[in-house]
């Protein structure tokens, strides 16, 4: 920890200390980018960070009027909006760091808020692209993200709680919920958890969620993070809580269950049978991702009798040239695919395409011809990889890809039984995972039949009348649509 008890005591003292020019100047001492200047006309002194303030605004609304004023006019000029009086040293220093300019007029200290809007403007999310529906995605600026949500829920019932994360970085976070729809206990629980984090700094929402989840050693993500405002709005209206972290384009919502990671906002923009088919397709993708290569290993190692005669000849012929046992062969190929994926993700887009071509040739025909692998395994590995990308959440997809390796090893040791053992371990693990005290396996266990209509399938809107039971909303009715 960067801050110890001594610093806490210092912070408490700072809360009571009246700010003076000397004290504020001392607190920003050593910051080369901090500007301390004295205005000509009025003689007022300013302390601010040019990198954090909107210089045009500062020039127009602060520097110019104060330069033209006399020292006698200074206090009357600064006494009303948009200027405010700094009451203590701590809040004064914090305001400067938030983009305010501190104005020193005699013994009094005033603050002028002119935060600079930095970073990119709202644009499409690169990790969660959709075909139909709104294309805007969150960006790194908290205000921008909050704005797009407020624009969509134009109600004062959308409440926001301002929080700070990181003892040193003091990153701003906003917890959002709709009053009357969200469970107040969950709001308190999540607020407390975020406030209790003791760490120097948090750079992304995906990092923040790992500091507040109940099962930190689990492979599975326990909070749903998204870059899509429409997804967050849907969660908020479902009675859930969302948290925006400044500097992160991901917003997370809670409580969350496993099956939520398989739904995408476009499911609601399609006709419901199509949306349902897509959800089922993703669940099939999930099964293929974790089991298909493992099943290949199991069958080719222990259960050759399961392969139909016609296919057996091709497989035997292809396998006969491979010097490795199926387990090693599969692990090699899966690792190669992961290497390609990781290289593709790290490289610039233009070079990334080259990796795709090289990978396609290397793990395609050349690997088979060299006797490095069988062509059926290539099909299995490729289908598994494609299936993993069907899952809308990248974090969940990455978890499942890692789990696949475990199942491959178990299948290589114990065949089909090993595969089933692996699934057993997964289920047992997931049964113990909770999110804000709710079951990760909802709506399967505990079984909530109405929720199944909006998780395993995407039911028609007239059937989705209740809010998800997972949110434990005090207002359960979501819609009153007649058929």
């Amino acid at each position: 920890m960067a801050d110890g008890k001594g610093n806490d005591a210092g912070a408490n003292a700072a809360e009571k200390t009246k700010p003076t020019l000397a004290l504020v100047a001392e607190s920003v001492k050593g910051c080369a980018d901090c500007l301390h200047e004295k205005l000509a006309g009025s003689g007022a002194e300013l302390i601010y960070f040019p990198t954090l303030v909107d210089l045009d605004c500062l020039q127009r609304d602060l520097i110019r009027p104060l330069s033209q004023a006399s020292p006698e006019q200074l206090n009357s000029l600064l006494s009303g909006a948009p200027y405010r009086t700094a009451t203590d040293l701590k809040s004064c220093a914090k305001s400067i760091m938030d983009g305010a300019a501190a104005v020193f007029a005699g013994q009094d200290v005033y603050l002028f808020d002119a935060p600079k809007s930095t970073g990119r403007k709202i644009e499409q999310s690169e990790t969660e692209t959709i075909i139909t529906g709104p294309h805007d995605g969150f960006v790194e600026a908290l205000e921008e993200n909050l704005g797009v949500i407020r624009k969509r829920i134009r109600s004062p019932k959308l409440k926001s709680v301002a929080l700070e994360v990181g003892e040193v970085a003091k990153t701003r976070a906003i917890l959002l919920y709709v009053e009357g729809l969200a469970n107040e206990q969950f709001v308190t629980m999540l607020t407390d958890r975020i406030q209790d984090i003791e760490i120097d700094g948090v750079s992304d929402a995906n990092m923040l969620v790992q500091l507040i989840d109940e099962n930190p050693n689990s492979l599975f993500p326990q909070y749903l993070t998204t870059e899509r405002p429409d997804a967050v709005v849907s969660k908020l209206l479902g009675g859930r809580i969302a948290v925006i972290l400044d500097g992160s384009p991901s917003v997370f919502s809670a409580p969350t269950a496993f099956l939520e990671f398989f739904s995408s906002p476009d499911d609601y923009y399609q006709r419901w049978p199509i949306g349902t088919a897509l959800r089922i397709l993703r669940l099939i993708g999930f099964l293929i991702t974790i089991c298909f290569t493992a099943f290949y290993v199991s069958v080719t190692t222990f259960h050759y009798e399961m392969i139909p005669h016609t296919m057996l000849l091709n497989l035997a012929e292809s396998r006969s040239r491979v010097p490795f046992p199926p387990l090693i062969e599969a692990l090699l190929m899966e690792t190669t695919i992961e290497l390609l994926r990781e290289a593709g993700a790290r490289l610039p887009t233009k070079i990334g395409q080259t990796i795709g071509i090289v990978g396609g040739i290397v793990i395609g025909q050349a690997a088979v011809q060299a006797g490095f692998t069988s062509n059926i395994l290539i099909i299995a590995v490729a289908i598994s990889a494609i299936a993993s990308f069907v899952i809308p959440s990248y974090i969940m997809s990455a978890s499942l890809r890692l789990i696949r390796f475990g199942l491959i090893v178990l299948a290589g040791i114990l065949g089909n039984l090993g595969l089933i053992f692996g699934i057993g371990f997964l289920v047992v693990h997931m049964a113990g995972v909770t999110n804000l005290g709710t079951s990760y396996l909802t709506p399967i266990a505990p079984a909530k039949f109405m929720d199944i209509l909006d998780t395993l399938v995407r039911g028609p809107f007239w059937a989705l009348k209740k809010r998800p039971s997972l949110s434990r909303s005090p207002n359960k009715t979501r819609a009153k649509i007649k058929r």
């Binding site: 065949g415 089909n416 039984l417 289920v427 047992v428 505990p446 079984a447």
Partner: protein
């Protein structure tokens, strides 16, 4: 914000506890011990089990939902109860271990003839440990998913309709048994129901709203229907005499299934029985954990998981071939059947004595 153990999940849990390795032999047992049209006699045995469940319901009502330990300890001294708890714990661990080991031995016979069964059983015990280290709510959640991963097998039943014939049932009832009808023979068949009595350990996790016994009865009804389907499929698919000589008629029926893209489906289907056997082992170990927890109240429940899983593993060394495992299953299941009937009667007597004692105390 704890989840409640509602009736629906109790039903699935009871189903999963009752479904274990004995189902593989069930049609043969019914044919050998009850005879032709044994399914009817099997239904009679299911009703006896339902009566036994009703006795537990009486205990639940008379004891006002108190746990079995609270009822006993209110009347009997700990010096009498603790040896009983220890003996029952050993019995329950034995049942869990032998059911699990039998499953492993059957699988070994099918697919891993050269592998040491204890290695496979060690993985099984790891899974037992992983589940036993969790609280009952998590065990029930896992068993709900395991139920879904097991119940789909019923979809395979229509596959046999083409070669299934009602003529194989004959018009005679209860003929053709090997040694006539005997109590031990009936107990052999009755053993498939063993597991419902563990509902007694669910008392502290339920209240009037959760409809515990509706769930127990429903679970028993679903498992009876499933067993009945298994018996009817085997009796109508094989001849009566053939069912009598097949060691595992259920597995033999699965062997018949052949699909265009996959052969020998039993290799894929059979491992799914792991889940029901696992729930059986875990819930009997959970019963042992509850009893031992009563004897050692200072020890956290999770701390029992490792020694209990190790005990299950150690007991697994006793049978080395399926014949030995089957004999041990027979012995332990017979004992457990006796326990299943004696326990509610004993508890009812204790509740009555406990009630009188408290009345006398209050009148004094």
């Amino acid at each position: 914000m704890k989840e409640k153990l509602n009736g629906f999940h109790v039903a699935l849990l009871i189903f999963m506890i009752e479904l274990d390795v004995t189902v593989f032999m069930l049609p043969r047992m019914v044919a050998v011990q009850i005879g032709t049209n044994g399914w009817l006699g099997f239904l009679g045995l299911s009703l006896i089990a339902a009566f036994n469940i009703w006795l537990y319901r009486l205990v639940y009502r008379a004891g006002q939902g108190r746990s079995v330990f609270d009822i006993s300890e209110a009347v009997l001294p700990k010096i009498v109860l603790y040896p009983l708890y220890a003996s029952l714990s050993l019995l329950w661990l034995g049942i869990g271990a032998f059911a699990g080991k039998s499953f492993v031995l059957v699988f070994q016979t099918l697919s891993f003839q050269t592998s040491p069964p204890m290695q496979i059983f060690a993985v099984y015990c790891l899974l037992v440990y992983a589940l036993l280290a969790k609280d009952l709510y998590s065990i029930v959640k896992a068993s709900t998913v395991f139920f879904l991963l097991s119940i789909w097998m019923l979809v395979l039943a229509p596959y046999f309709f083409k070669d299934w014939s009602i003529h194989r049932f004959t018009a005679f009832f209860f003929h053709g048994t090997e040694n006539g009808h005997s109590l031990s023979g009936m107990l052999d068949v009755y053993a498939v129901f063993i597991g419902y009595e563990l509902c007694v350990f669910l008392f502290p996790f339920s209240d009037a709203k959760t409809k515990l016994f509706k769930g127990v009865f429903a679970g028993h009804a679903i498992i009876t229907a499933t067993y009945l389907l298994t018996i009817l499929v085997s009796f109508g698919f094989f001849s009566f005499e053939e069912v009598k000589i097949l060691q595992f008629p259920l597995i033999h029926t699965l062997e018949y299934i052949e699909m265009p893209f996959i052969n020998r489906v039993e290799n894929l289907v059979f491992p799914f029985f792991l889940f029901s056997n696992l729930v059986t082992t875990v819930m009997f170990a959970f019963a042992a954990r509850s009893a031992l927890g009563r004897m050692l109240p200072g020890v956290e429940a999770k701390r029992f998981a490792l020694p209990l899983a190790a005990a299950v593993f150690a007991l697994g060394f006793l049978p080395s071939v399926f014949r030995e495992a089957a004999a041990l299953i027979r012995l332990t299941y017979f004992t457990e059947t006796c326990v299943a009937f004696i326990l509610p009667l004993l508890l009812l007597i204790l509740i009555k004595i406990g009630g009188k004692t408290s009345k006398e105390a209050s009148s004094r």
